[in-house]
Amino acid sequence: MGLGEFLFLLTGLKWTVALSAIGFVCGSVGGLAIALLRTSGVRGLERLAAGYIALFQGTPLLMQLFVVYYGLALIGLHLSAWVAVSIGFTLHASAYLGEIWRGSIDAVPRGQTEAASALNLKYTSRMKDVVLPQAIRISLPATIGFLVQLIKGTSLASIVGFTELARAGNIVSNQIFEPLLVFGIVGILYFLMCWPLSLYGSHLENRLAVASR
C-alpha cells in the first residue's frame, strides 16, 4: 500500500471524526432537550420524549439513516449525503443521550431538588446549578460508552455513499487487492480512537464508585 492510499484512509478517518463530533455535539443539545422533557413532570411532554426514545432505541441505526436519506428525498428534500447522515446521527444520538441523561437526572437524590426549591430557586436554576452538574458527573461513564458506540456506528454511513473510514478502506482494498492489510489498518485506526475513550470511561466509573462509597 502506497502513501497515496494511506492518505486516502486518513481522509476517511477525518470524516469519521467529523461525523462523530457532529453527531455527538448536536446530539448532546437534542439529548439534553429530550432528557429535560422526559423529566419535566408534564405528562404530555414526558410521553412525547419517551416515544421518541423508544422509536430510536427500537429500530436499527442503519434503518434510521435510510429513512432520513431516502425519506427526505421522497418528500422533495434532496440533501447531500453529508447533511443527511449528520441529521441521522444527531437524531439517533439525541435519543440515546436523552435516555442516559434522563437516568442520571433521576439518580440525583430528590433532597437536592427539594433543598433548592426550599431556597426558592426556580426550575432553570435548580437544573442548571444543582441537578445537571451532578447528573452529568453520574452520566460520564455511560456517555463516553455511547460516544464509542457512535464512532463505530459511523461506519454505517458508508451505506448511503458517505466516504468515511470504513468506506475508504473498502475503496482502497478494491484497488490494491489487499483486504487483510487494509482492513487491519482501518481496524487499528478505529481502535486508536475508541480504546483510550473506553479506558477513560472505566477510569471515571471507578472514580465515581469510590466517591459514592
Binding site: Q112, A115, A116, S117, A118, L119, L121, V130, R137
Partner: protein, 258 residues
C-alpha cells in the same frame, strides 16, 4: 415607650403561619386531616409524634414542597395557592433544614450559601458573599468556607445547612428532624445553634424528638398521630400532664431509653 411596646405586642400577636382545616392526600392516602394551627411571630413550636404520623408532611406543606388539597395555609398574610407567585412569596419567608442536610455536594460551603441569594434574591456576588461569611461565622464554621460538604462532619454540615437557609433572610425556619441523622456527639452543636436562633426571636417549627430542646426552647409542643394533631400544650404541661392516652404512650417510649 408605650408606642414601642404596643407595636412589639401587635407584632407578637399577629399570626405568622395559619393552617386552617388543612387536608393532604397522597393519591388515595390521607396523610393530613383537620390540621388547625396558628403560629405567632417569634413563636417556637416543637412537633413530635410517631414515625409516619405526618410531621414532615405538615411542615413540607407550609413551603409547598407538598401541595395540600383542602383548607388554607397562610404565611405572613399570603394565602398559599398552587400558583408560582404565591409559592415564590412564601418561600421568600420560609427557610428549611432537612434531616439529611441536602447540601449541594459539588459546591463549596461558601458557594452553597451564595447560590440562592444570587439566583433567587438577586443579590450581587459581593453582597451574597458578605452575607454568607457573616452567617457562617455565626454558626461558627467560617473557617471551613472553602471546603466541600463531604469534607465536613455531619454536625458541621447541618450547621452549614442552617446558615445557607438563613442567608435568604427568612422570617420562619422549618426544621425536619435536624439531628436524627447525626452521631450523638454532634447533636449538641446543632441544637446549640438552633437555641441561639430561637433566642434571637426567629419563628420556628421544629420536628424533633429532642425533648430537652423542647423543654428549653418551645412555646408549645404539638403531638401528632395518624395525620392529625392530637394534643398541644406548653412543654411543662405536655411532659408532666399529657391529656391523651396516645401522648402518654408516645412519651413513655421516647423518654425511657431502651
Amino acid at each position: 415607650m408605650t408606642t414601642h411596646a404596643s407595636i412589639a405586642n401587635a407584632a407578637t400577636t399577629d399570626p405568622m403561619i395559619v393552617m386552617a382545616d388543612v387536608e393532604k392526600w397522597y393519591g388515595g392516602f390521607k396523610a393530613l386531616s383537620d390540621i388547625n394551627l396558628s403560629v405567632r411571630r417569634g413563636e417556637k413550636i416543637v412537633l413530635c409524634g410517631p414515625s409516619g404520623s405526618g410531621k414532615s408532611t405538615l411542615i413540607r406543606c407550609i413551603n409547598h414542597l407538598e401541595a395540600y388539597q383542602k383548607g388554607e395555609i397562610r404565611v405572613g398574610g399570603t394565602r398559599l395557592g398552587d400558583d408560582s407567585r404565591t409559592i415564590d412569596a412564601i418561600r421568600r419567608e420560609v427557610g428549611m433544614v432537612f434531616q439529611h442536610f441536602n447540601l449541594f455536594p459539588h459546591m463549596t460551603v461558601l458557594q452553597n450559601c451564595m447560590l440562592a441569594p444570587m439566583r433567587a434574591a438577586k443579590m450581587s456576588r459581593s453582597e451574597a458573599e458578605a452575607t454568607a461569611r457573616r452567617l457562617l461565622d455565626r454558626v461558627r464554621i467560617l473557617e471551613q468556607a472553602d471546603k466541600y460538604p463531604a469534607q465536613l462532619s455531619g454536625g458541621q454540615q447541618q450547621r452549614v445547612a442552617i446558615a445557607r437557609a438563613l442567608c435568604m433572610r427568612p422570617s420562619v425556619m422549618l426544621f425536619d428532624e435536624p439531628t436524627s441523622a447525626l452521631d450523638p456527639e454532634m447533636v449538641k452543636e446543632v441544637l446549640d445553634t438552633m437555641i441561639g436562633l430561637a433566642e434571637e426571636g426567629m419563628t420556628m417549627i421544629c420536628v424533633t424528638h429532642e425533648m430537652g430542646f423542647a423543654r428549653q426552647v418551645a412555646d408549645r409542643v404539638i403531638f401528632m398521630a395518624g395525620g392529625t394533631i392530637v394534643e398541644e400544650a406548653p412543654p411543662d404541661a405536655f411532659f408532666t400532664q399529657p391529656r391523651h392516652e396516645r401522648t402518654r404512650k408516645f412519651l413513655g417510649e421516647i423518654l425511657r431509653p431502651h
